[in-house]
Amino acid sequence: MNLKISLQIAQTHLLSKKRQTLIAMLGVTFGIAMFIVMISVIKGVNKFLEDSALDSSPHIRIYKEITSNHPSIIEEANPSGFNVTYHQLPKNELINIKNGLQIAANIEKEPSVLGVSPQISSQVFFNKGPVPFSGQIAGVDVMKEDKLYDLKKRIKSGNIESLLSTPNGILMGKVLARNLNVKVGDKITVTTPTGNLKLVKIVGTFGFGIQTVDGVKCYANMSMVQEILQKDKSFVTDIHIKMKDSQAALTYAKVLHNQYGYKTQDWAEANSAFLAGDKIRNGMVIMVSITLLVVAGFGIYNIMNMNVINKMKDIAILKATGFAGNDIVSIFLIQSIIIGILGALLGIIIGFVLSYLLSSMPFDAGDFLDIKTFPILFEPKYYGLGMIFGITTTILAGYMPARKASKIDPVAILRG
């Protein structure tokens, strides 16, 4: 087999039928370009959703789980008897983490931990006229919280420093603030579940781009929340932890649970709905990609098949003059490979351009998502994948007609 001649013949064939070559190439180009755009959009959306979910939730949250699911005294005393307990109520438990501040300080020493924010969190009502709005207030050290969630960037009005200088100030989610029709400087009454009232001053608003956060959450100083809940200075209900590597959180959460005995929730558990959506979207990408590539493959198969049929006479002559089956296969396979490589390259370029245009297209998702343009992921890995897919498909699609060509019986054609 002499690849040089095969290449020369393949080249002449391709160049003498420029339009046919171009159409075959465009089949691959379209498939690969659409694959790149699809995967960039879906991966971009996935990453955006994941990021916004992860950014606004801690990697690990430590809290005390309150449950009424514990055995009654009579059951403990008489485990084999037939006991009936009606309306069992939870024990009168405090929801705080004992020594929470100390635990937080210990965790912070861990080198893999990015930041720790102990906080006291409670359901509250905001009274504006006759209508109570429910919300959630978190008493935090706002500087620590900033380290975890990059609060400064998410401030829409006011600033976080004024929270430090205003003991009764709060930072309010922007959707909640809009619903309450309040802005920076306004005052509003907070009612705790135990019935205490407190007049607070709004010093800023923030937006995470997630409705479930922006519509309910407020930040306040830890001491103020402890005061309205009538708790002492060491009372914390939650410890939020951010790790340097989010994957490490999954194992570290278990370590913390064993170490301190409190319920630990990692980000994957807290965002399982998001992650399930991720999986579904990824599955869709794979299905659509395969469809596109199969269509492109059939296109090439058809065109190469036609090419072989058109070239039957030539194949017969080549065989008569001493070209072996392998030479014929290589001649036609080389054509497919050239079509595949050029088509895939062009597809990657067009895919990139389309993705780029999409990424600069304005996209208004309202309050639901905090984005201005389509989230597109530019990942070289997928471009490489597109290239590999494109070339593999063309080789497979080109091999069958090439094999057919090598099986042609020259006698039948030369005799006419």
């Binding site: 013949i9 030539d314 001493g322 070209f323 072996a324």
Partner: protein, 243 residues
């Protein structure tokens, strides 16, 4: 790949012999067609061809002369009997081995000229030699020009072959058949599609090849003038050699 093997055998078994040595011998060739019914096309055909001999195969349509030629050409392997060329038994070899053998030892000229239309005249002539790979590209080009000169087509070397007239294409096909200096050149009605003048040109070239280059020519023909001018006429009828 397999090009070298048969070549070596050739050189050891059949050293180039002078005029008169048998370069091709077919013995007891039988061939059947199975479509639509089983039908014996060739019946026990045996003959020999000598070096430098100009053979014409004649006979009525359907007598099996073309079928015989394609068996001799090694392209048709579905037959009974044995075929020996240059001292090598070719019956039972694989398609690829036969292709390598054809490349080096056989040249073909067909009725419908059969050049590769997208290639230039020069490329068409060069291809079998490039496949053989015995000479460098430059030498092959030089040799191709020589062969084109022999058929008086050297001025058209760089033209696309599809743009030539029928007679010109046939001359190029002869040049292509000669490029590897084959022992045997086979023609399937090489003048069948040409006018009288071009037929004469082709005939003269064939004659020259046989007598000056000492290459064997086996041509199937309907043209009585062409047959008359050959060294030996093999006449066939109903799948048998009658003369």
């Amino acid at each position: 790949m397999q090009i070298n093997k048969p070549k070596n055998i050739t050189e050891s078994i059949a050293p180039p012999s002078g005029a008169g040595g048998a370069v091709l011998s077919a013995s007891n060739i039988n061939k059947y067609f199975y479509e639509p019914d089983k039908f014996q096309v060739l019946k026990n055909i045996s003959f020999e061809a000598n070096r430098g001999e100009f053979l014409a195969l004649v006979g009525k349509s359907g007598c099996g002369k073309s079928t015989l030629l394609y068996i001799l050409s090694t392209m048709d392997t579905d037959y009974e009997g044995s075929l020996v060329m240059q001292g090598e038994r070719l019956t039972g070899r694989t398609q690829d081995q036969l292709a390598a053998f054809r490349n080096e030892h056989l040249g073909f000229v067909f009725q419908f000229h059969f050049l590769l239309p997208e290639f230039t005249v020069l490329q068409n002539v060069m291809l079998p030699a490039l496949k053989l790979g015995k000479y460098s590209n430059k030498e092959i080009e030089e040799r191709a020009y020589q062969k084109l000169k022999l058929v008086d087509m050297q001025d058209h070397a760089l033209k696309q072959s599809a743009k030539l007239s029928g007679g010109q294409q046939q001359r190029v096909a002869i040049a292509r058949a000669l490029i590897n200096d084959p022992t045997i050149i086979m023609g399937d009605e090489p003048t069948g599609n040409l006018d009288k003048k071009n037929s004469e040109v082709v005939f003269e070239i064939f004659k020259q090849i046989a007598h000056e280059n000492n290459q064997t020519i086996i041509a199937v023909t309907h043209d009585p003038d062409f047959a008359k001018g050959s060294d030996r006429i093999i006449e066939m009828s109903d799948g048998q050699i009658i003369n």
